[in-house]
């Protein structure tokens, strides 16, 4: 195509239409970067706002923990993630830095706890099985404190009781821990209502302290006079009713357990206060027996041997146990002349003083009033005395009683423990009487008596000899007498036979008498006839006449 034709073609092209010019506006396209800026800014702001608090938790080791993977969960909801794991500055543990979700800020208080959840079998429970697949995670229990905290020390084991479980803690003091361990159940009427949360040896090494948690609403059954006992194992008792086997459950046998009950017949049913301390008895019987947490130590000095008195022996007031022997000792002075036997006892003042009429358990128990009472009672003659509990076994116990005639004494409060006055007696008295009897027997002229007795015996012997001879003489007389007697017996027998009712003599006699009777009758008939017919004597009897 030449330029000419091209030009011609162009010339034939139509003219573009011209439209009126519109006012220029900002192109709508600029909305896009503005929206992008808003979206981007929103994302960034959201990211910043959503960024939760960062915490550090110290653990013993980092087993199964992984930075960027391990989650922190609360009630199985992820609330955070481990960001880094470092050795602690002292190299004794590891420090886990974790970032939590934003809402978690309010959970981070002083008593919030963290622990690593791994598969665990303890206390008859299997936990954390899920972590076999998912890997370990860090469990969290939100505390109730108001103080915020960002640095925590992780627990080595998961807590048995988390803060969100309603219920209360109680402290139990025991002599030994038995089979009890963390997680052991606590039973009330054989129903598991709580768990052992912690236990530790007392600082002084005497006894063990347990911390138990009783779930609500069962915590209200823990009354202020509740009795706790170790229900691990089987309690077999044999009594008049037969063999009784008592156990809480098979689980309790295997993993131990604690049972509690409030004291039967008690009127004090108010729930115990939080963290009240109780005594953990070894058996139910012991728990029910042991009534007094409050005890008063005393020392009683005796002069006589304590043989038969053992630790645990009762202190009784006329048969009512008011205390217990704690330990025995011997004191010898430097010159070895006097020997004393101090007996350390615990007396439960509440029991003894409750015996006082009109005063309930509500009376004042402060130290001063207690001392006044003790002093008053001692002034009235209250003394301790060794007494025989069982004459066969020689068991002793300590009796306290009022002896009005004893010389005045007082409790030595200056001593620790206070020195309680004693009197000898009881078993000692009995012993004394016995020995005085023996002495009297001892002082008798037994040899003289024996000689006299022997002399008398000889005389008696002689008498007996003569008696013997006399008897033998009698023997020779006897045959003649015997024959005479025989004859006499025969005669008697004969006479008897003759006189017996069925003897012929008797019969004949009777016959004779009968005949005699008949004869007399005939005679009377004759005389009658003769009276009426006197002529018959001459004429003879007429026919037809009677």
């Amino acid at each position: 195509m030449t330029k000419q034709t091209a030009d011609a073609n162009i010339d034939h092209l139509p003219e573009a239409r011209v439209e009126r010019k519109r006012g220029r506006t900002v192109p709508a396209v600029w909305l896009i970067p503005i929206i992008a800026a808003l979206v981007g800014g929103w994302l960034v702001v959201k990211g910043i706002l959503e960024k939760g608090p960062t915490i550090t938790v110290t653990f013993k080791n980092a087993e199964a923990l992984e930075a960027g993977k391990t989650k922190i969960t609360y009630k199985n909801v992820d609330v955070g993630e481990v960001k880094s794991i470092k050795l602690s500055p002292d190299r004794e543990g590891i420090v886990v830095t974790a970032e939590l979700v934003k809402d978690a800020a309010s959970y981070l208080v002083a008593d919030t706890r963290f622990w690593v959840v791994r598969p665990r079998i303890a206390g008859g429970q299997v936990s954390g099985l899920g972590t076999l697949f998912s890997g370990a995670y860090i469990g969290m229990d939100i505390g109730k404190s108001a103080t915020e905290q960002r640095e925590f020390v992780g627990l080595e084991v998961a807590p048995i009781v988390t803060a969100d479980v309603p219920g209360r803690h109680f402290v139990l003091h025991a002599e030994t821990s038995g089979a009890l361990q963390i997680g052991s159940p606590v039973y009330f009427r054989q129903e598991a209502v709580g768990t052992v949360v912690a236990h530790e040896l007392n600082k002084d090494g005497r006894g063990v302290t347990f911390n138990v948690f009783i779930n609500a609403p069962y915590d209200r059954y823990v009354t202020s006079d509740a009795r706790f006992w170790n229900s691990s194992g089987i309690d077999v008792s044999l009594d008049a009713g037969g063999i009784k086997v008592d156990t809480q459950s098979i689980a309790a046998i295997l993993i131990g357990g604690i049972a509690f009950e409030s004291l039967q017949g008690s009127t004090n049913q108010a729930p115990a206060s939080e963290d009240q301390e109780f005594f953990l008895a070894n058996t139910r019987a012991e728990a029910m027996k042991r009534q007094d947490v409050m005890s008063r130590p005393f020392v009683l000095h005796f002069a006589k041997s304590l043989r038969g008195l053992s630790v645990g022996a009762p202190v009784e007031f006329r048969g009512i146990v008011v205390g217990e022997v704690k330990s025995l000792n011997v004191e010898i002075d430097d010159s070895f002349t006097s020997i004393r036997f101090p007996v350390y006892v615990d007396i439960y003042p509440r029991r003894l003083l409750n015996l006082v009429r009109g005063e309930g358990p509500t009376m004042a128990m402060d130290e001063a009033s207690l001392r006044t009472r003790w002093n008053g009672m001692v002034a009235k003659g209250l003394r301790g005395q060794l007494q025989a509990g069982n004459l066969l076994t020689g068991q002793l116990y300590i009796g306290v009683d009022f002896f009005p005639d004893v010389p005045a004494a007082h409790i030595d409060w200056a001593n620790t423990p206070p020195d309680f006055p004693t009197i000898s007696g009881g078993f000692e008295e009995f012993e004394g009487t016995l020995s005085s009897i023996v002495k009297k027997i001892d002082s008798m002229p037994l040899n003289d008596i024996a000689a006299d007795v022997r002399h008398n015996l000889k005389a008696l012997n002689r008498t007996l000899d003569s008696a013997d001879r006399f008897i033998r003489g009698m023997d020779q007389v006897s045959p003649t007498a015997k024959s005479a007697l025989d004859e006499a017996r025969k005669t008697l027998k004969l006479a008897e036979r003759t006189l017996s009712t069925d003897s012929p003599v008797q019969y004949e006699l009777q016959e004779t008498l009968r005949e005699l009777g008949k004869t007399a009758q005939s005679l009377r008939l004759l005389t009658d006839y003769l009276e009426r017919h006197p002529e018959s004597v001459i004429r003879g009897k007429k026919d037809g006449d009677r």
């Binding site: 003219e15 439209e19 396209v29 896009i32 989650k71």
Partner: protein, 209 residues
């Protein structure tokens, strides 16, 4: 007549975008319509540079969250995890699949950022009426436009996974905020490339001659 080809603009002609009718155009007039179909006539895309800039700026703004926020949340039996693009690449690299890491790096980081830079360069050069090697710049534009949609690779993977992996407790995958931003960046760069008028690269040459 010289050997340089004439452009429609130099001849005072303008083609309709809708019906293709070529019509005469007089200088001075801005708002013209096609005499046949009444469509608006433009010699060049209107406000091309401004629009390109707008989309570019929007892309830049979203580029940061796209790379910093996680694009994928994985919840499985083996734990929950959130991955950003970079952490995914690092994971692939560390676990030995360096070739895959390379692919993802190129598709997700290198290409979008290169695209952004190239478009910026083009826009700047056009605005400054630079006469530097128009052929080179046109090639650059072609590559940018061609390659644009292919950097949606990540979004594609994420969307397929999100749709397929919903096994409740076993495994769940959710798209993160990063994916939204990343998708937006890819789309915005495509728009920016679309709005850019490559004829502007050549206009300074014509005017100079």
């Amino acid at each position: 007549m010289n050997q340089r080809p004439m452009t429609a603009r130099q001849l005072g002609l303008c083609a309709c975008h809708t019906c293709g009718l070529l019509s005469k155009w007089e200088r001075g007039h801005v708002d013209l319509t096609c005499p046949r179909c009444r469509s608006h006539l433009h010699l060049r895309k209107p406000d091309s540079i401004a629009r390109t800039w707008a989309f570019l700026i929007a892309s830049y703004l979203l580029f940061l969250p796209a790379n910093l926020l996680p694009i994928m949340h994985t919840n499985s039996l083996f734990g929950a995890q959130s991955d950003t693009i970079m952490s995914g690449i690092v994971y692939l690299w560390v676990s030995g699949s360096w070739h895959l890491a390379l692919v993802v790096f190129i598709a997700s980081i290198l290409v979008p950022s290169a695209k952004l830079l190239a478009l910026t360069f083009l826009a700047v050069s056009v605005q400054k009426r630079s006469q530097w090697d128009p052929i080179q710049r046109t090639n650059m534009y072609r590559i940018v436009e061609l390659v644009g949609r292919w950097s949606m690779l990540d979004i594609f993977v994420v969307s397929v996974l999100v749709a397929l992996v919903q096994l409740q407790s076993l495994a769940t995958i959710r798209a993160g905020h990063g994916a939204v931003a990343f998708g937006a960046v890819v789309v915005l760069t495509m728009f920016a490339a679309m709005e850019f008028d490559p004829r502007l690269i050549w206009d300074p040459q014509d005017d100079a001659s």
